[in-house]
Amino acid sequence: MLNRYPLWKYLLILVVLVVGLIYSLPNLFPEDPAIQISSAQGDSLDERQIERVETALIENDIDVKALEKENGQWLIRLRHDDDQLNARDIAADLLGNDATVALNLAEATPEWLQAFSASPMTLGLDLRGGVHFLLEVDMDAALTQRLEVNASAMRELLRGERIRYRNTEVEERSLSIDFASAEDRDTARSLISRDFPDFEYSSEGDGRASSLVMTLSDQSVNEIQDYAINQNLTTLRNRVNELGVAEPMVQRQGPNQIVVELPGIQDTVAAKRIVGATANLEFRLEARPDTPENETETLTFRNEPARTAELMRDVIITGDSVSSASNSFDENGRPQVNIDLDGTGGTLMNRATRTNIGRNMAVLFIEHKSEDTVVTDPETGEETIEREPYVERGLISLATIQSALGNSFRITGLDSPTEAAELALLLRSGSLAAPIYFVQERTIGPSLGAENIERGLLSVQIGLLLVVLFMLVRYKVFGVFANIALALNLTLLVAVMSMLGATLTLPGIAGIVLTLGMAVDANVLIFERIREELRNGMSVQQAIQAGYERAFTSIVDANITTLLVAVILFSIGTGPVKGFAVTLSIGILTSLFTALMVTRAMVNLVYGSKPVKKLWI
C-alpha cells in the first residue's frame, strides 16, 4: 500500500512533539519583574506596611500583578519591566530602615512543568537587562606570577649547565639570584640574558655575596599587563558562555578592569562564584629525602589540614596545559575530573613521570582569594575598603606514579560533584593570567528602548504571519500541513533552546523567524515535486510517494552541507559564532524532522491508502 506509515512512526512523532511541548511551554510564562521585601530584623513584616506599599505603587501608576508571601518575605509581582526600579525606590523610601527591598525576577512557570525541570529561556541584556559586575585585575600578581615562571625556568637552565646558585628571590618587578662566586654569576648572566631579553641586568656584590638582579623594563611590564587583561577576558568569555548561546557582555574597561554583564541572573552568588573563581591546578613531584631544602616546600592537604607533604618547588605542569576537562564519578562513586592535556603539557607530563615511576605525584589546588577590611582614616574619618589578597594552596591528591602518564588521566580527591563540575569548567575555559576581584555589582536595565523592542517583536510577528499566508495561498491543503509543521518546528526549536539554557535577544528572535522562513524550503521542494509529477501524469498516490522520495536527496544533501558548516563553526568558533552554529544546527535538525516526517504523517493520515481523485496543492 502506498503512503502508509507504520504505527511506531506515528508514536515516535507523538512522543517527540509531547516532549517538545513540555519543554517549550515555560516560555509562555515569562518571569515577572518583581520586588522582594524582607524585614531587616528577620521577623516577618506587618501586612499593613505591604498594603501601604501597594497603595503607593498604584498611586504612581505602577501595575501590580500579585502579592505573595513566602518564608516571611513578600514578593510584589509587577506587570511592566520599566516599573521595577521605580517600584523598588518607592518601597524603599516608604519602609525606610525597617525592611530590605531587592529586585527579583519571579518565576512564573507552573509547578507541574517545574517538575520536568523545564524552564523558560532567559531574556537578553537588550530586552530585559541583567546584572553588571565590575572586576579588577590584580596587575601586581600578574607580574609576580610571570616572574615566578621565569625564575623556575632560569633555575632549570642553571641546573642544566651545572652552575651553582643559592637563592632566588622575586620582588615587585625584579628577580634576583645569589651565587657562590662572581665567576658563576657572570657565566649565569651571559647565559640567562641570551634567553630572557625582557630584563635589565645588573650585577651586585662580590665573592660569596654576588648576586644577579634582573628588572623588568617598562615596556615588558606593559606587555605583561596587557597580556594578563586579554587572557582574563578570553577566559571569562569562555566561562560565562561555553556554548555561545548565553549572550553575555564581557569587555575591558579602563586600564585594569573588566565588565561582565549577564542576562537574567537571579542567583548572583552562583554567578559570582563562576566569574570570580581563580582555581587552578599544579602537578608536582613529592620531594626525595635527600632533596636540598631550598628546592622543597611543605604543603597541607585540603581535606585534612593536619596532614602535610614535602613537595618539590618545581612545577611539572599547571592547569594552563589542560586542553579539555570533564567531570564524572569513579568506580566508588566519588567525584572525579577527567583531564586531557595539550601537546606540550602531554610531553612534559610524560617526561616527568617516565623517569620517576614509583615516586609520588601531588595535585595542588590553588585559589586566589581576598579579604576586605574597612579601614577608617584617623584624621578625616573617611572609610576606605582595603583588600588583602591571599592565596590558598592545598593538596587534593598524592598518588604513586604507576606508569608513565600521557595526554589524558583523571584526578580525584574533590569534595563534591559540584566542585568537580566547577573545576572541570574552569580548566576547560582556561586559567586566569592574574587574579581578579569584584569591585562593583549592580543590576542593569535593558539596553534597548521599549519602543524598539515593541517594533522588533511586531515585525517578527508580521514576518511569521506572511510566511503562513504565503504557504496557504500557494499550496492550499498542503499549505495547511506545512504551516502545522512550521508551528511544531517552532515548538521544538524553542524547546531545545530552552533546554540548552539559551538567551533570547531581539536579533536572536529575528533569527528564529528567519530560520522558519527558510525551513519551508524542504516542504516547498516536496510540494513542487508532487505538482510536477502530477503534471507528468502520475496518479495522486504515486505523485505523493515520488514527490517525497525524489525531493529527499536534494533536501538531505543541502541540509547536510549546511550542517557540516555549522558543526565546524561550533567546534572552532568562539562566542557568538559558536552560538550561531548551535542555533543553526538545531534549526536544521528540527526542520528536517518536521518537514519530512511530520508533514508526511499528516499527508498519509489524510490521503494515504484511499482513492483520491484530486489533490488541493
Binding site: L85, N86, D89, H132, N230, L233, T234, R237, R252, Q253, R442, I444, G445, L448, G449, E451, N452, R455, G456, S459, V460, I462, G463, L464, L466, F470, L506, P507, A510, G511, V513, L514, G517, M518, V524, L525, E528, R535, N536, R550, T553, S554, D557, A558, N559, I560, T561, L564, V565, A566, I568, L569, I572, G573, T574, G575, P576, V577, F580, A581
Partner: protein, 308 residues
C-alpha cells in the same frame, strides 16, 4: 517530456551578461572594502562608557534621541542599579572630555545631571573571535568542498566554493560601500547567508545532476536550462518567503534589526543569483560532461541512455 506549465527561460544564453554583472559587483565590493573599509560597530571597536546620576528618574528614550541627534553613534542607554543612575555607552574614542561633553548636553534639557565616571571600554569580542572564526570558516569551506566533491564531483565543489565567496564578498562590500554599521548581528547574518547560499546551490546542483543523468540530449547549456527552470518555482517560493520575513523586519523592525535584515536581504538576492550564474553556469567553462557524473560500472540502466 516537458512540463507544460513551465516557463522555459534561457538562463545559460545570458550567462555572459551575468558574468559581467558579477564581475562589476565583485570589483566594486573589493574596492569598497579596501578603500572605504568596514564601519565596525560598538561590538567590535569598543568606545566610551559614561555613568551619570540624575536628580529625578529621566526618560531613557529622550536621552537616546538627544545623544543621537547630537551626532554620537551607536548609543546604548541603560539604567544602572537605580532608576536615577544611567549608564551610557558610546562608540567614540575615549578622551578625558567626552564625559563632560555628554553631561553638558544632558543638562541642556534642564535636568540636574552629575558625572559619576567616564572610562574607555574595550570591544565586546576579542581577537580570539576573529582568528578562530576565520580559521573555522576556512576549515568549514574545505570540508564542504570535499563533501560536494564526494557527493557530486570536484567541478561542482569548485563552483559551490566560488558562489559562496562571491556572495560573502558582495554582502560585506555593500556594508563597506554604504558605510553601514558592521556589528555582531551582521556577522550572524553573514553566516546565515552562507547557509542559505549553500542550501540553494546544492538544490540547483541536485537537479542539474538528475537532468544530466536522465536527459537524452548532449547539449549541456540546454540541460542546465531545463534543470534551473524545473527548480525555478521552488527557488522563487523559498526566497519569496524568506524575503517576506526580511522585508517585515527591515520596514518595521527598528534600528536594532535593520542592518541584520539588510545583510540578509542582499545576501539572499545575490545568493539566489549566484546559485544559477556562478555555481551552475561555471560548470560550463569547467567542461562538465555526462561522464563526470555517471560511473562507468554502476547504474547500467542509465548508461543505456548514453547511446546515441
Amino acid at each position: 517530456m516537458k512540463p507544460l506549465s513551465h516557463l522555459q527561460i534561457d538562463f545559460m544564453g545570458r550567462r555572459k551578461f551575468a558574468y559581467i554583472v558579477s564581475a562589476v559587483m565583485l570589483i566594486a565590493s573589493i574596492a569598497a572594502i579596501i578603500i572605504l573599509k568596514l564601519n565596525f560597530g560598538l561590538d567590535f571597536t569598543g568606545g566610551t562608557l559614561i555613568e551619570v546620576r540624575y536628580g529625578a528618574a529621566p526618560s531613557l528614550d529622550a536621552i537616546r534621541v538627544l545623544l543621537e541627534e547630537s551626532g554620537f553613534q551607536d548609543v546604548s542607554v541603560q539604567t544602572f542599579g537605580a532608576s536615577t543612575e544611567v549608564l551610557i555607552r558610546l562608540q567614540q574614542a575615549f578622551d578625558a572630555d567626552v564625559g563632560g561633553e555628554v553631561v553638558n548636553l544632558l543638562r541642556s534639557s534642564g535636568d540636574s545631571v552629575n558625572l559619576v565616571r567616564s572610562e574607555f571600554v574595550g570591544s565586546q569580542v576579542g581577537d580570539q573571535l576573529r582568528d578562530q572564526s576565520g580559521l573555522g570558516l576556512l576549515v568549514a569551506l574545505g570540508v564542504v568542498m570535499v563533501y560536494v566533491a564526494f557527493r557530486f564531483q570536484y567541478k561542482f565543489a569548485i563552483g559551490a566554493l566560488l558562489a559562496l565567496m562571491h556572495d560573502v564578498i558582495i554582502v560585506v562590500g555593500v556594508f563597506a560601500l554604504f558605510q553601514l554599521d558592521f556589528d555582531l548581528t551582521v556577522l550572524a547574518a553573514i553566516l546565515a547567508v552562507i547557509g542559505y547560499s549553500l542550501n540553494d546551490t546544492i538544490v540547483v546542483y541536485d537537479r542539474v545532476r538528475e537532468s544530466i543523468r536522465t536527459s537524452r540530449i548532449d547539449d549541456m547549456p540546454q540541460i542546465f536550462n531545463e534543470a534551473i527552470n524545473a527548480t525555478l518555482s521552488r527557488t522563487l517560493a523559498t526566497s519569496g518567503t524568506t524575503l517576506l520575513v526580511l522585508l517585515a523586519l527591515l520596514l518595521l523592525g527598528g534600528d536594532m534589526i535593520e542592518n541584520f535584515a539588510i545583510a540578509l536581504l542582499v545576501g539572499i538576492v545575490v545568493g539566489t543569483f549566484s546559485s544559477i550564474y556562478i555555481a551552475a553556469a561555471l560548470l560550463l567553462p569547467l567542461k562538465l560532461s555526462r561522464e563526470d557524473l555517471i560511473p562507468t560500472k554502476k547504474e547500467l540502466d542509465e548508461e543505456e541512455e548514453e547511446l546515441p
